[in-house]
Symmetry: C2
Subunit: 342 residues, 2 copies
């Protein structure tokens, strides 16, 4: 007969050693109350008995979970995958656990995940919001609950929250200026939804660059939509079918550029000869494109660690920590598109 006992508890260890469970609890947590010899003995015994702490019990009584919730819109995306990896590594180093959830660009799912995380009593939340997030109120609620929250890359428009983003306006500006310097007059934009920073700010940088160079913004050359490959494909096809193609398109994300790339190929237009492209962000796929796209480089390496650092600051200093917005500057990486016209 195997034991009926469901699980080994502190009490079981305590009984075996004729001490109290509090002593065991302290010993396992290296509390100074306990002498080295006893602590060693207790740890050895716990190990031998196959003790596995019960986080639910611990969390309940300690009123904290050492857990941070992370929500991203998509996972099959090297940008987010890389950041997730780095956040995991940071958490590992700081003895935090990560609860990862994917909203799949769905506002409802995003909300459900947020609620689950609140119910789990995560110590903090790191999020990159979905395309058309309608959860501003939920974020405010979370804030009022005192749960630290840090946005990264995709944020909501509200100065009361901390965030780590790349400098989208500046990045877009650089890209479009480059297009202008390359000799293009007719510069279109396949942009993202305007309710979200990356859509709005990249469009803002685009407009700013045109304005500064006194180039007329042709609204017919601007389309807003989502951030995925199919969105780029559709946008291109729309411009193409209406014969509204400019000379070059500045796209809001790499997947969107990829959609444009595919669509252009499909209708038989050559990049960069017939239609040129410069985009925001990249992916490992870029290596295989012909031509390899020029793009605004997001310093992906920094985003994860900086975001994590920020959430830790929030957690450690509690309410008195003022929201902080970190912006990371971008660089232009020139490949085989948007090259100077001779």
């Amino acid at each position: 007969m195997s034991k009926k006992k469901t699980q080994i508890t502190l009490q079981d260890i305590a009984d075996k050693l004729n001490v109290t469970k509090v002593t065991v609890s302290k010993a396992l947590r290296n509390h100074p109350d306990i002498s080295d010899s006893t602590a060693k003995l207790i740890k050895k015994t716990a190990d031998k008995m196959g003790y596995i702490p019960n986080f639910a019990a611990r969390n309940l009584s300690a009123k904290k979970t050492s857990t941070i919730g992370v929500i991203v819109p998509v996972i099959a995306n090297s940008f987010f995958a890389q950041i997730i990896d780095s956040i995991y590594n940071c958490a590992f180093d700081s003895d935090y656990d990560i609860i990862l959830a994917v909203s799949q660009e769905d506002s409802e799912k995003e909300k459900k995940h947020l609620e689950t995380m609140l119910a789990m009593r995560v110590d903090g939340i790191i999020i990159s919001v979905c395309e058309k997030s309608e959860n501003h109120n939920t974020f405010l609620k979370i804030k009022s609950l005192g749960v630290p929250i840090v946005f990264f890359d995709r944020t909501i428009e509200d100065d009361n929250f901390s965030s780590v983003t790349i400098n989208n306006v500046q990045g877009a500006y650089k890209a479009v200026v480059k297009a202008i310097e390359s000799g293009y007059k007719s510069i279109g934009h396949i942009g993202g939804w305007q309710n979200i920073n990356i859509g709005r700010d990249r469009y803002a940088g685009y407009k700013e660059a045109l304005r500064k160079h006194k180039i007329h913004l042709n609204k017919k050359h601007v389309i807003f939509g989502g951030f995925g490959e199919d969105d780029g494909y559709k946008a291109f096809m729309e411009l193409y079918s209406k014969q509204n193609l400019p000379d070059i398109l500045f796209t809001v994300t790499f997947p969107v550029a990829l959609g444009v790339y595919n669509a252009a190929k499909e209708v038989g237009l050559k990049i960069p000869k017939d239609i040129d492209v410069i985009t925001f962000g990249q992916s490992s796929i870029n290596r295989f494109l012909k031509p390899k796209l020029s793009y605004v480089d997001l310093q992906t390496n920094d985003i994860g660690p900086k975001t994590f650092e920020l959430i830790l600051e929030h957690i450690r200093s509690g309410k008195k920590f003022a929201p902080k917005k970190i912006e990371i500057d971008t660089d232009l990486v020139m490949n085989e598109t948007c090259i100077k016209k001779i």
Copy 2:
């Protein structure tokens, strides 16, 4: 002054309505004990007061978590990303929560994640093991603890565990037979570590195909290593530097094939003319390769749901559920490599 109260509890709701917390608890869970009118009132009040359940407390007392742990080796990989998405969707539909962790092909991290999940008292674990997992003992421990565990894609060799895999031997066999039929005599294999099913079985299928067709297996044409792009690159370079290149290489994963692709390009060899390639699995990158690789298609769509279904069966039937191994058949998808020699 804002309230000092940390959080709203069942008791708070109960007090306001002059009932007991048990009544509130039951009402919120739609327990038949509670009349519709009371239940409705309680729910409304809970909502108004901003009640958020405390999962730790619930888990502790209910002795289950409705949470399933998922561990994958890598995340920036469309194969795993897709499966993760589908598992999330299944969980969503069945009211389970998912705890996702990434081992990053590191056995130590894998172990740590497993332990964390045990401490969280997940109701079950779904895992695709890392490259050189040394956690067989941990898996046995988990089994003896009575925590259901289902492997997918990458499993350990042990009949006592359930798993969902594709038919690796058959898939590899098909690919290599195709190479043979295409007229190749000298067929190499860039394989994966042999301690893990996908490495072992794909190699087995390769050997079997050669044997059946009485083709000599030249050990100099076989290299074992990891499953990533750099592994493929290194393997190719090793063969190349020793001038041991066969006519065609059957690679264990798509990333490995990609590494080969890059390496071949780098040394100026043309695929498929100078060196041909056929691989196991694919990725969205394949669309952009020239030539587009022929590959053994893994029915990615089925793996996630089938795995989830299996873990649910385990959870529901407890100890008495016998391990079940599900194998999914593969298809060969022919593109521009491994084409019949004329």
